[in-house]
């Protein structure tokens, strides 16, 4: 593997990665994207491995085998655990970047101070800062999402928290600057671990005050950090493939975070430092309002007569794993000539595209999944809106109540439908911790219960019913 062949392979791998992401713009070509990605990665790994400077192969083989051994089971987690898996993999990415940066620093230190140019030192310090904070931060995020016992779910806050965090960051940066200025001082190798320790600590403290429910946005931001750590590694190793792939990853994290923040009408700062979802301010005055209940039989009858039913799924559908029952309902209604569409809010559920994967898992054609902006104009013509475990994304307060934490967030106009059925288990609020007046509306009927059970009942009514009409 000459230098020329290595460089040519890296260019090829870069092009394949770009195609991989490009093909994700359409579900029809998306799987080709995966093949392109695998091909690019294979080319990059083999080209690197076959260089003459690589002389020890045992550990490489061992690590690769171990990677397969852990990676294959990790890829078979249930879909509800995908956010945790993603966070975990950012942790791994951060760790890898941090370790390579650390290794390279000590190596160059030993080989002689002339290796530690200012440029390299800046890149190394950025790499380890970003790498290690992504490592612990992502582990915390994964833990919160997995609801690991000893990691607090609710945000942990105390006075002056942001100042302490900021102070920590300053100290880490200051030490970093000191090492950059004097990379080959005798004290530098001792200060280096302190920077690592501070980064690790900072990762933990950064995530502790953020509620489990804000994790998806945080994960996207950590994704961007992991990408930037890879870019920094590219600068350290003078490797343009790393720079490019890292920049692609960083863009993805950034754009997903922006999309989520926009769809929630919140700022980055508010997500990171707002300690959102911390106190559930139950407005005591609201309790006198009354819900109107409905039975599955009644609801089934009305849905049978409808010509357009819009199903609005939310986080509750994911919790109840109700997507397969929803599919049965969809089939039953279609059999009766009812048009059924799904209204997908960009932040329904707990990660971007959450509802789409779940419904796809249940074999519902993606052509029937309609985005918020497109379905809203049809809502006034809609006979029945069936809200399945969604709450904030259909809360009309977002449109006019300036005091509401979700004010300004675009919502699905469920309240404009002729009849609304809403499935949830209790009178508890959703993620944002606020009441939803949709449930008290004149045309709304509640179907209390677990989403899977309630939809199962609806299906039973419909299939036991009179068939075609």
């Amino acid at each position: 593997m000459t230098h020329a062949m290595l460089q040519a392979s890296y260019i090829l791998a870069t092009a394949l990665f770009i195609f991989a992401l490009h093909w994700m713009n359409d579900p029809k070509t998306a799987r080709n994207g995966v093949y392109a990605g695998v091909a690019g990665m294979t080319v990059a790994v083999l080209a690197t491995w076959f260089q003459p400077i690589i002389i020890h192969h045992g550990w490489i083989i061992l690590a690769i085998v171990a990677g397969f051994a852990v990676g294959i089971p990790l890829s078979m987690v249930p879909l509800t655990a995908v956010p945790q898996r993603t966070a975990l993999s950012h942790a791994f990415g951060g760790l890898a970047a941090g370790l390579v940066g650390t290794a390279k620093y000590y190596l160059w230190y030993q080989e002689g101070p002339e290796n530690l140019t200012t440029f390299r030192m800046v890149a190394i310090v950025l790499e380890i800062l970003l790498g290690y904070l992504t490592f612990t931060g992502s582990l915390m995020a994964a833990g919160k999402l997995q609801e690991v016992k000893w990691i607090p779910q609710r945000p942990v806050t105390y006075p002056g928290q942001n100042i302490v965090n900021f102070f920590l960051l300053i100290v880490a940066l200051g030490l970093g600057a000191a090492v950059i200025m004097n990379p080959s001082a005798t004290w530098a190798p001792q200060v280096f671990p302190a920077i690592i320790g501070l980064s690790l600590l900072f990762g933990v403290l950064l995530i502790i005050p953020i509620g489990g429910a804000d994790m998806p946005t945080v994960i996207a931001i950590l994704n961007a950090y992991a990408g930037l750590a890879a870019v920094a590694m590219g600068f350290v190793l003078d490797n343009k493939l790393l720079i490019t792939a890292g920049a692609l990853d960083g863009s993805s994290g950034l754009i997903l975070a922006i999309i989520m923040c926009k769809a929630m009408n919140r700022s980055f700062g508010n997500v990171l430092f707002g300690a959102f979802g911390q106190v559930q301010q139950l407005k005591a005055g609201g309790e006198q309002k009354v819900y109107k209940g409905e039975t599955p039989e009644g609801a089934a009858q009305i849905m049978e007569q409808a010509s357009l039913v819009v199903i609005i799924p939310g986080y509750g559908m994911a919790v109840a794993q109700a997507q397969h029952k929803v599919r049965e309902l969809y089939d039953q209604l279609k059999k009766r000539g009812v048009t059924v569409k799904f209204a997908i809010h960009p932040v329904a559920g707990r990660m971007p595209g959450h509802m789409n994967v779940l419904l796809a898992e249940a074999d519902i054609p993606y052509t029937d999944l309609v985005e918020m902006d497109d379905i809203n104009s049809d809502m006034p013509q809609c006979d029945v809106a069936l809200v399945v475990g969604a709450n904030d994304v259909v809360n009309p307060a977002a449109r006019y109540d300036k005091s509401s934490p979700i004010y300004g967030m675009p919502i699905i106009d469920a309240d404009k439908a002729r009849t609304i059925f809403a499935i949830k288990r209790s009178k508890n609020p959703g993620f944002a911790g606020i009441d939803n007046e949709l449930y008290f509306g004149p045309r709304t009927w509640m179907l209390f219960g677990d989403a899977k059970n309630v939809i199962g009942e609806l299906v039973k009514q419909l299939s036991g019913g009179s068939g075609m009409h």
Partner: protein
């Protein structure tokens, strides 16, 4: 108190920026035969790659944002390249050990990232062929 913190923060960041600037300023002139890696090429590549990333990702179908997260995970595990170099070169064992852990971590991401992406994408179907109804 807060002010002092902010000031010291600013000076730490300032030191970093000055360092980076000095690094780029002292970088070789490239072009006609100087020594050392050309840092400006790397910056150039970074800027171009960011443009590509922002352009391509913005056009990813909203339907596929979950698989997008897992495929970019897998791709960013390109850190595997650096890990192989550290693990397999003629370096002291402690250094190589760190590389080995990094290699294991990257490889896990590659394998699980691509596999789970493919698993999710397989689920997306436009319309069941042998399916009743007439939507």
């Amino acid at each position: 108190m807060l002010r002092r913190l902010l000031l010291s923060g600013a000076s730490a960041i300032g030191a970093l920026v000055v360092g980076a600037g000095r690094a780029l300023a002292e970088s070789p002139a490239g072009g006609e035969g100087d020594a050392g890696p050309d840092y400006w090429s790397m910056l150039f590549v970074f800027v171009l790659a960011s443009f590509i990333g922002l352009g391509v990702i913005r056009r990813v179908s909203r339907l596929l944002h979950t698989p997008l997260m897992s495929i970019t995970n897998a791709i960013s595990a390109i850190a595997v390249v650096g890990s192989i170099l550290v693990t397999g070169s003629d370096y002291p064992p402690t250094i190589r050990f760190m590389g080995g852990i990094a290699l294991f971590a990257s490889m896990t991401n590659i394998v699980s990232g691509f596999l789970i992406t493919d698993r999710m994408l397989k689920m997306f179907k436009s319309e069941k062929p042998g399916q009743g109804g007439h939507a």
